[in-house]
Subunit: 148 residues, 2 copies
């Protein structure tokens, strides 16, 4: 029986690249990178007790995070404060940071809607729901390292 399944990556890779272009453009319009926006997004949702914790939440590198935080702090979008454990920095977004994050996010959502405008409304909602589940499964697979 011939296998007419299409490898998922053949669909997911172009989709990821298109979404990446949308986020780069939206963040770039405010002089930020996609990762700097992601930092702002996560810290605005919940202040972080340390940079290491934030890196883990973002599935990002604690090394690369340093330079991004330098940029965000210099632009007044985020503040570093020494924590109780004096090795750590507590991180919080400023009002300016939250506003910038919201503006970028609005542009991203508009770009997503435009990209996927071929989908019917209920199909789009289903895609969002299923993608969230699949993304969650992928993150857990990464943690447990039980992938194949």
């Amino acid at each position: 029986m011939p296998d007419d399944r299409v490898d998922l990556l053949a669909s997911v890779l172009p989709l990821a690249k298109a979404l990446r272009r949308i986020e780069d453009a939206a963040a770039g319009a405010h002089g930020l990178t996609m990762w700097q926006y992601a930092v702002l997004l996560v810290v605005a949702a919940q202040p972080s007790g340390s940079q290491a914790e934030l890196a883990a939440r973002l599935d990002y590198s604690r090394n690369r995070l340093v330079a991004d935080l330098d940029v965000l702090e210099a632009r007044g979008l985020l503040v570093r404060r020494p924590g109780a454990d004096r090795r750590t920095n507590e991180l919080a977004a400023t009002d300016d940071g939250v506003a910038t994050m919201r503006a970028i996010q609005a542009a991203i959502h508009a770009g997503e809607d435009d990209l996927l405008s071929v989908l019917a409304d209920d199909d789009r909602a289903e895609l969002d729901r299923l993608l969230r589940l699949a993304g969650q499964a992928a993150r857990q697979a990464r943690e447990t390292r039980e992938v194949v």
Copy 2:
């Protein structure tokens, strides 16, 4: 009104990375890279009239394609033949190439099923269908450059 939408990339990126790991592992078990497998997959489905045409079909670089074809040809998985236009190479997969491609593909599909085993059967089928549509939209957006 607060925006509780989750950026699609936050789900798609981990998913793409997990799928990439699966394909790398499956192709690597046969001494190939993900792109070399992708070349084999596409050429087996339909022989190519030129390397440039193949690169376009794969949304891949014609430059990087050269070294990958060298490997596949040296391993007897694919043949280059001069075309009518003597600047071009016609490309076709060998029987060995098709068999190798099928073995890798089977491992990939097993890995995908394992990764997404948390999804119910009908949810999984819907994800496949919607991802195919979204991937198609992303590829077209890339062609027309009308993204945001």
